[in-house]
């Protein structure tokens, strides 16, 4: 695995703006990753999308893969992510990012292809594309932002909105007797044979953000190593549509989201002792003769 560069440097666009304020002898400890552009994001103040965007950019920098990375932006608040990253980017239709990523990856298997999707995109309108890309074992990386609400359209109920959570379209609270229950994506996908790695992380604190970055980096590394489909679910906030300060949103996340969406690794075929998802799937089907047949091609 590539290590973080020893010397941290500013991206070119900050050389004058920030670099001029650095005195001789001062060493940069932390700076914007080079994979981030200078575009100011459309995210609201305190939105955790920005944190996760940065983690993705840092992983791209540290793995040295910007030149061969193709990212797929979703529909939702992160729709304009194609402006925020310096790697090649494609903007997909709502929910279709895994299908678009599949197309790219099949054409250029050596590219590193990732999809970045919110809960409405990934777990509602794009559920079919998500489940099937996962079960096909597409060697892609998916970053899933679960903030339990539709942000871009103004705070409607999401597939991951919690029971009794008030949103614009569940004004009396999500009534599970009528609209059913939230989808736990990490758990759901972990049952699929094509999946190599699923972890749920969050970003409410320094320690959790560091863990989130480790997970995202692993999800990219898995793709580079050809291990299989990897998804990191990030339990996130939407201060604006939750109607809270960013700080209170973190507290609400800890109080309500994390008990419903427990953090942790839900599947990791490498940790389970397999070389990749295919080997793990073969072992799981060890009593099925046809599944054990050796292929000629």
């Amino acid at each position: 695995m590539a290590q973080p560069t020893a010397t941290i440097t500013l991206p070119d666009y900050q050389q004058e703006r920030i670099g001029s304020q650095i005195a001789e002898g001062e060493v940069i400890k932390s700076a914007r990753p080079h994979a981030l552009t200078d575009v100011v994001t459309n995210y609201c103040p305190g939105c955790t999308h920005g944190i996760v965007n940065r983690l993705v950019a840092e992983c791209i920098d540290e793995l040295g893969i910007e030149g061969r990375t193709v990212g797929i932006a979703p529909v939702g608040c992160s729709v304009m992510m194609y402006d925020f990253l310096n790697c090649d980017m494609i903007e997909a239709a709502h929910g279709r990012a895994p299908a678009v990523a599949t197309g790219v990856k099949r054409v250029h298997p050596d590219n590193v292809v990732f999809a970045y999707q919110g809960d409405g995109d990934l777990a509602s309108i794009g559920t079919a594309e998500t489940v099937h890309a996962a079960t096909r074992g597409e060697k892609i990386t998916v970053i899933f932002i679960n903030n339990a609400i539709y942000g871009m359209t103004g705070g409607q109920m999401a597939p991951t909105s919690l029971p009794n959570q008030v949103t614009q379209t569940s004004p009396y609270g999500r009534d599970v007797s009528k609209v059913g229950y939230p989808v736990r994506i990490a758990e759901l996908l972990s049952t699929l044979d094509g999946v190599a790695y699923v972890e749920r992380v969050t970003c409410d604190s320094r320690a959790h953000i560091i863990q989130a970055k480790k997970a995202i980096k692993k999800a990219f590394q898995n793709q580079i190593d050809g291990i299989g489909y990897s998804l990191v679910e990030v339990v996130a906030t939407c201060p604006t549509n939750w109607g809270m300060t960013p700080q209170n949103a973190f507290q609400w996340l800890r109080d309500n989201m994390l008990p419903y969406y427990p953090l942790g690794v839900y599947k990791d075929v490498v940790a389970d002792g397999f070389a990749n998802a295919a080997e793990a799937a073969l072992e799981r089907a060890k009593d099925c003769p046809i599944a054990q047949q050796k292929r000629e091609d």
């Binding site: 703006r17 650095i22 060493v27 700076a31 990753p33 305190g46 944190i51 940065r54 300060t245 960013p246």
Partner: protein
Amino acid sequence: MARIIVDDVHCKGCGLCVSACPKGVLALDDERITPKGYHPAKLVDPDGCIGCSSCFITCPDVAITVVK
């Protein structure tokens, strides 16, 4: 001695860095307004910064550069 430099282009004054700072040496600068209309973060106690980068890690707008 460590300190932070805030990029006014990116800072949206959300204050997450202020809450994340273990030393409590950051605040939003009521005296200044960024081009986008926010009060940016600033280091109010230059001697207290330990360069831990907690503010950088938590900042959703990647507006902070930490130097030492």
